[in-house]
């Protein structure tokens, strides 16, 4: 399942050093310059946009590694594409 807004949110809050459209779903956002500080803002924005709460066991680096891993975490939380 894909969540188009994930890319928008990453682009707005991830402070990447490259354009998010140049990244594939599996490319590392950290390697693209996202700091752990910026990743917190991405998480907050995702929680807000999809009206979900990431439980503690999902709040880890690997879940926010890529657009793909974020999308599959959202699927696990039963988020429906708007």
């Amino acid at each position: 399942m894909s969540f188009p807004a994930v890319r928008e949110i990453v682009s707005e809050h991830g402070r990447l050093s490259v354009d998010v459209t140049t990244l594939s779903d599996d490319d590392s956002l950290y390697e693209a310059g996202m700091t752990s500080h910026a990743s917190v803002n991405v998480m907050l924005a995702l929680e807000d946009a999809y009206d979900v709460e990431f439980p503690d066991e999902m709040l880890k680096r690997s879940v926010f590694e890529s657009v793909g891993s974020i999308s599959s975490a959202l699927s696990q939380l039963d988020v429906q594409v708007a």
Binding site: S17, Y30, E31, S36, F54, E57, L59, K60
Partner: protein, 391 residues
């Protein structure tokens, strides 16, 4: 007792003996001279303590992490600087052991570490990023025409016992075009490294760690680059382990300050039997502060033991907060206990040459809050707290 418990007990008996007979004896001279605690480190080598954490399959003694933390506490009570050298070395060893990922080079290296009791220093902080371990300026740079080797040059503001170490574990950007957070850890042998001093070492405390700044330059085989990305090494091992071992030392320092204050109160009570001893009341206040510190250190150790093998759990924000909080709480509490202990002893605690002197303890413990600046860690926690659910 199990075999493992026997081994731990024998290891700790050796550390107890060495702490009293050697570390304590030289502590004041090490402090005064800001000199390396050679006697203590030699004695640790003789006891094979530098390879304590190396698993038996690589020839080590397979001592438990808890026993090594206890050893940091025991040494910390006698000589904070010796304990810190010991702890920083063990942090590097534990990190390598936990992230071997089947690398033949690192497996052989562990065998060599056991045989030669090699001492490993740490080069994580950097001029330009300060205590922010999650960013690097210097980069691992391939050598044209030799894909098996690479070079680096890092401006290191503080390298404890750099001049006495056999090897250095260095963080770097993975390549010249990698971002600041795309880091690797590299083991550089002293023999492949030049250390150009950039200053002297005449600090307030932890003087025996001998930690001046250096420009660190090396050419290393790429096999010596650890396989896992440094961010996971850092989260799953280096940060929590550092905070655990450091805080055991700070607890040791504070405990000895308390013991000295208690000895002072007892001496006062003996001098005037039956008379009230006002300092005894103050001592009771110090004890409550010390017990808070001890409780935090021990409960963090328990949390670690439960989660140690569960890398996924260790990489959650909840755990990052847990071990960051240990560092913050312990580093703020230890100097508080030392200062209050000095208040109990009065002028004989303030003087440097009495059995009740607490100056060294106070000065050593004051390094705790800036050994990675607490404000930085608070800032990280502030971010994590916005999103973590259970803390």
């Amino acid at each position: 007792m199990t075999v493992a418990a026997d081994r731990d007990a024998a290891f700790l008996a050796g550390i107890d003996q060495l702490a009293d007979a050697i570390a304590a004896v030289h502590a004041d001279d090490v402090d005064r001279g800001a000199r390396f605690p050679t006697e203590t480190i030699d004695a640790l080598r003789e006891q094979r303590a530098l390879s304590a954490l190396v698993p038996a399959e690589y020839g080590g003694d397979g001592i438990s992490f808890e026993a090594v933390a206890q050893a940091c506490f025991v040494l910390g009570r006698r000589c904070g600087a010796s304990a810190m050298v010991f702890a920083m070395h063990q942090i590097q060893v534990a990190t390598i052991v936990r992230h071997l990922d089947g690398s033949p080079w690192f497996e052989d290296y562990l065998r060599e570490l056991v045989a030669d009791q090699r001492l490993i220093a740490s080069v994580t902080s950097e001029v330009g990023t300060g205590g922010d371990m999650s960013r690097s300026v210097a980069a691992l740079t391939p050598i044209d025409g030799d894909p098996a080797r690479a070079t680096f040059e890092k401006q290191a503001p503080t390298v404890s016992y750099g001049a006495y170490a056999d090897d250095l574990l260095v963080t770097l950007r993975a390549s010249p075009d990698a971002g600041p957070g795309d880091q690797v850890a590299v083991l550089a042998r002293q023999s492949d490294t030049t250390l150009e001093p950039t200053g002297t070492w005449d600090p307030l405390g932890m003087r025996g760690t001998c930690s001046p700044g250096y420009v660190v330059r090396a050419e290393v085989p790429v096999a010596q680059v650890m396989g896992a990305p440094f961010p996971s090494i850092s989260t799953e091992s280096m940060v929590p382990i550092s905070h655990l071992l450091w805080s055991h030392i700070w607890l040791g320092i504070a405990t000895d300050a308390f013991d000295r204050a208690r000895a002072f109160v007892r001496a006062a009570a003996r001098r005037a039997p039956g008379e009230p001893v006002p300092a005894a009341m103050k001592l009771s206040h110090v004890m409550t502060q010390l017990s808070l510190l001890r409780a935090e250190v021990h409960s963090a150790m328990q949390d670690w033991t439960e989660a140690e093998a569960d890398r996924e759990r260790l990489s959650t924000m909840a755990f990052a907060l847990r071990f960051n909080n240990l560092k913050l709480a312990a580093s703020e509490q230890a100097p508080r206990v030392c200062q209050q202990a000095m208040g109990v002893c009065g002028i004989v605690g303030f003087k440097n040459d009495t059995p009740f002197s607490i100056g060294r303890h106070l000065r050593d413990s004051m390094s705790a809050s800036l050994m990675v600046a607490n404000e930085r860690i608070h800032q990280t926690n502030a971010g994590l707290l916005l999103i973590a659910k259970e803390v």
